[in-house]
């Protein structure tokens, strides 16, 4: 099954073809479940003018924040940003554009992009700034706005385990946006904690089937915790 072996040799190969001005969809919520090595590789490549579709933009020295440091991001499509100072600086300086999208709408836009659905209706954002300029439609007495789907030139994804065919499983809340991101990239690149052989993952328990995955690489992860919170006992 050589044609289905998605494992690439190194990070250069993992992100080969990524060019200035492209749109990248990234998995992760805060610093949880982010493709650390792939972000580091984009930093190293110095690719510029990127549009990132990602729920958040990391912190100053970790996650997508490191690409702000390199002034590599032109636009963020996110639900919540500004956990880092660079973001605010670049936004105020006009170096960075931001499009705020409600979290659930963002997740659904990615899902729709991967599923061949160009647009859908949601009540989220109706009557708010998010709904401005968007088509409004009434269904069964309630108002909804039309939202378009999102597809990326690349998707960068972090999974727990992946087999050589690209079948993926995620762990706990590190799943978050990763499964939708995986479906919505023209080229989907996945970084995993462990590469296993086909058959090691139960076919009933695969979160992302390998058909969505173009390239797979084993990473090593710092897994930084953004808000370490403990209980007393």
């Amino acid at each position: 099954m050589a044609g289905f072996d998605k494992v690439v040799k190194n990070y250069d190969e993992a992100l080969a073809g990524l060019q200035d001005g492209m749109t990248v969809i990234a998995g992760g919520f805060g610093l949880c479940g982010i493709p650390e090595g792939l972000i580091a590789q984009i930093r190293k490549m110095g690719t510029r003018d990127l549009t990132f579709v990602s729920n958040n933009c990391g912190v100053d020295d970790f996650g997508l924040g490191v690409l702000l440091a390199g002034k590599q991001i032109r636009k963020m499509v996110s639900s919540y940003v500004g956990e880092n100072k660079l973001f605010e600086e670049q936004l105020l300086a006009g170096e960075l554009e931001v499009e705020l999208v409600p979290q659930g709408t963002l997740a659904e836009k990615m899902r729709a992009g991967g599923a061949g659905i160009p647009a859908f209706f949601t009540a989220t954002g109706y009557g708010t700034l998010v709904g401005e300029g968007k088509e409004v439609r009434e269904f069964d007495g309630r108002h909804y706005i039309m939202e378009r789907s999102i597809v990326g030139d690349f998707a960068i994804v972090k999974a727990w385990k992946g087999d050589r065919y690209g079948n993926l499983v995620y762990r706990n809340t590190a799943r978050n946006f990763n499964p939708m991101a995986a479906t919505a990239g023209k080229i989907t690149v996945v970084e995993v904690e462990e590469i296993v052989e086909p058959g090691e993952l139960d076919p009933n328990e695969i979160h992302t089937p390998g058909i969505y995955v173009n390239r797979l690489i084993q990473g090593s992860f710092e897994k930084r915790i953004e808000r370490r919170t403990l209980r007393a006992d």
């Binding site: 919540y80 979290q103 370490r228």
Partner: protein, 218 residues
């Protein structure tokens, strides 16, 4: 006396029912989990992708792959499930969460809510708040009744950009429990020792006052 944050959470908790699936926002709403009535169980939904959220972890339980919607480390209870953010918001948008508690800057007599953006300040984003207010049939807002400068937060018309339109029906403030319907606030309960006059003075939007306004008990 105005309610403490803990008392506000306690009052909100009285709206819970056994078997409710509940989403709690950041701040006072989070405290509601500490006041679930005895003999009652609710299951907490965290919109990043967890149903059955448990308490914060011990040092030994700490897991970078297990956080809540506020990005704090948490635990999961027995019988919990994890899912994607698309599946999580399908659950929320589809109205499957029984009860949602959120903070706010302002609410108004039309049930509008403003909670994510103050013009002139850095805009950080709405996160999941717009989805939560649009998806929840049963939602309660908890916030102080007025600002520190005495400016009412219960308005005729929200002054700040909206998080959602026409979706709020219940508000617990530090002074009162208020319902919203028919374009009016309806005063239902007052904090112990707080006069109806004080509540009326600090409520900018039109408010209906019944003959008797019971005091909350704690």
């Amino acid at each position: 006396m105005a309610l403490t944050r803990e008392q506000m959470a306690q009052r909100v908790a009285r709206e819970l029912q056994d078997g409710y699936y509940v989403n709690l926002g950041i701040g006072i709403p989070t405290l509601v989990a500490n006041y679930i009535p005895k003999g009652m169980t609710v299951m907490l939904q965290s919109e990043n992708g967890l149903l059955g959220m448990g308490p914060f972890p011990t040092e030994a339980e700490l897991d970078a792959d297990l956080i809540n919607a506020g990005k704090q480390t948490v635990t999961a209870i027995t019988g919990a499930s994890y899912f994607s953010s698309a599946d999580s918001f399908a659950m929320i948008r589809g109205g499957h969460v029984d009860f949602t508690v959120l903070g706010a800057f302002e609410v108004d007599i039309e049930g509008n809510i403003a909670s994510y953006m103050i013009p002139g300040k850095m805009v950080k984003g709405m996160g999941g708040a717009m989805d939560l207010v649009a998806g929840a049939a049963n939602i309660i807002v908890t916030m102080t009744h007025a600002s520190k400068h005495g400016e009412s937060k219960l308005l005729t018309r929200c002054s700040l950009p909206l998080t959602g339109a026409g979706c709020i029906k219940k508000v617990v403030t530090d002074l009162a429990y208020v319902e919203i319907r028919e374009g009016k606030f309806w005063l239902k309960e007052r904090a112990p020792g707080v006069s109806v006059d004080e509540i009326v003075r600090l409520t900018e939007g039109k408010m209906v006052i019944p003959d008797v306004v019971p005091e909350m008990e704690f």
